[in-house]
Amino acid sequence: MDFNLSKEEILIQKMARDYAEQAILPVADQIEKDNRVPDDIMAGLAELDLFGMTVPEEFGGAGAGYVPYVLAMEQIARVSSGPAMIISAHNLGLGALVNFGTDEQKAKFVPQAAKGEHIASFAFTEPGTGSDPKQLTTSAVRGGDHFVLNGTKRFITNASYKGPLVLFAIEAESGQPTAFVVEKHCPGYSVSKPWSKLGWHGGDLVDIYLKDVQVPVENVLGKIGDGYPILQYGIAFGKIGMNSVALGTTLAAFELAVKYAKEKTHRGQPIAKFQAIQMKVAEIAGIYESSRWLAYRLGFLANNTKNYREFAKEAALAKWVIARNAQEATRISMDVHGSYGLMEDYEITRIYRDAAMGPQVEGVIHMQQVILAGDILR
């Protein structure tokens, strides 16, 4: 068992931290206010290959695998969650393509996305369901060499950007969930105004309206009527990104608590001298470490897993623990800050809002626990 990061992993971590601090931090407040990641930041992330880290080199990616991906995403989310949310959802869509696409599909959709010229999405959620594929209503009806798609998808990340979208609909003939690759902004595709969300500002979140969208038959991902495993395992891989975002939030909560404990004085001494504060700092430190190793390990498993089912279980476990830990850590960090921490002038406010997001996204915590318990008690 080797817990050391390789020099390459350390350099990728440092690269992401440098970029986050040099380029993203100066516009972090602007991202919070505008709820939009500036184009030059998107271009900068692309130039550093951060959109194609997990994609094999033969499809235009960096072939770095998932551990460096976790390391880099943590550092970006530490400074601003919006760009990290975009990369995470992009990888969710792209990962499904890489894992389940045919060579032709991969050759067609992956390279531009791996370079960040296109931004991928993954659309499951609908106004009527966020956790239960049986309740999907978006329909796909065969018409010659294509399918015609109709329906509404809710809360879809990156759906405003150009690029491939892995979309789940009920295929009429089989009556079963089926995955399709849709090119966003094709005829019949439109999106809502962006949602204003509690946290993760800057991450693009809209509803998608599909009106007689024609998708060629060769864009079916996997088999017709067999979308469920793609959904299940696609989302399992997506959780690596979600975990990294929550981990970056936890790291920020820790650093902010330490900084404030040393800065803020009470009767002439920094509050760090008080045992009550020391215990809080120790608590967050422990939380961060436990999240960290779970998140890194899930990245390692993603590189090495042969068994998707096993991996999905691990992902469900890591997801609920890390998402909950982020909330716990920010709450304690808020306690260290006291009332000042409630003022928008303090960064902990952003971190606190960001931490609220993880538990409710890409499978709520309860769903993760249902998946995990189902496997344990099988």
Binding site: K262, E263, K264, T265
Partner: protein, 308 residues
Amino acid sequence: MAGTLIFSENPALVLELATAALEMDSGPVYALVINNGPQAEKLSNHGLAVLSVDEPGMSSFDTAGCAQAVAQTAGQKDLSMVLLSSDRRGKELAGRVAEAMHAGCLTDVKGFSLEGGQLAFTRNSLGGATLATQAIKTPAQVVAVSPRAFAPIAPTATGSIEAVKINVPASAVKLVETRSKAGDTVDLQAAERLVVVGQGVEDQSDLALVEQVAQALKAEIGCSKPVATDKKWYPEERIIGLSGKICKPALALILGVSGQVQFTVGVREAQVIVSVNNDENAFMNKIADYVLVADLKEALPELVRQLG
């Protein structure tokens, strides 16, 4: 130790080096002047023993040639200590002179003491986080002394000029053009009082108020690095700190500087430091004599009013 050779292109710094040399008390002191008759004249009138090189083939901007001139003169006169100014020209020269003389060398030297009979020099290390005390073990020694570390020497009537002949190979460097730096002739290191602008001065329009404060206090204006390099509100000559000027003013009024060590090395030897910062915990405040926790947006106009 046979004696000391001092050299700087900047005559004001030569006078400081002369003080340092006398205080080190290591034999006779000579000042080298290269291709600059008027300067030789001026320094000898001030009381220095000048060694004057007149070698039309060489030029002051060529470090290789200058290093030869310094090393050969020291050799001819059997001077084992060379003191250079630790400005950019002097620092560039120091390593080359030292290598030519097989000498150990220290730059950015701020002072010296006697440790067990040998000279020990002090200089900043680790980005200014520490103060190192170091000694040179070789018989010949090259030391570049920080500007303002020593007071200029008082004039005496004992000056002289002696011509020296040296042998310098043709220069591989040609001067195309010299430009003065954008009309900024301020000498921050000579200023008795400094007002320092940090990123806590948030609007460029407030610089007019800073100007008025500086006028009222008869102070020069310096700034932190990002104010010059990122915001470009002032020329880089005004940067204070590790990559800028190391100053020792009587008063440093610091406006909105966080106090990273790279900055504080530039003011920490001020006699009185005042920090105005809206962050009561700013590191700058911990090394200040007076701390005013205030938003500069409000503090500046009021300061102008009350000082005026």
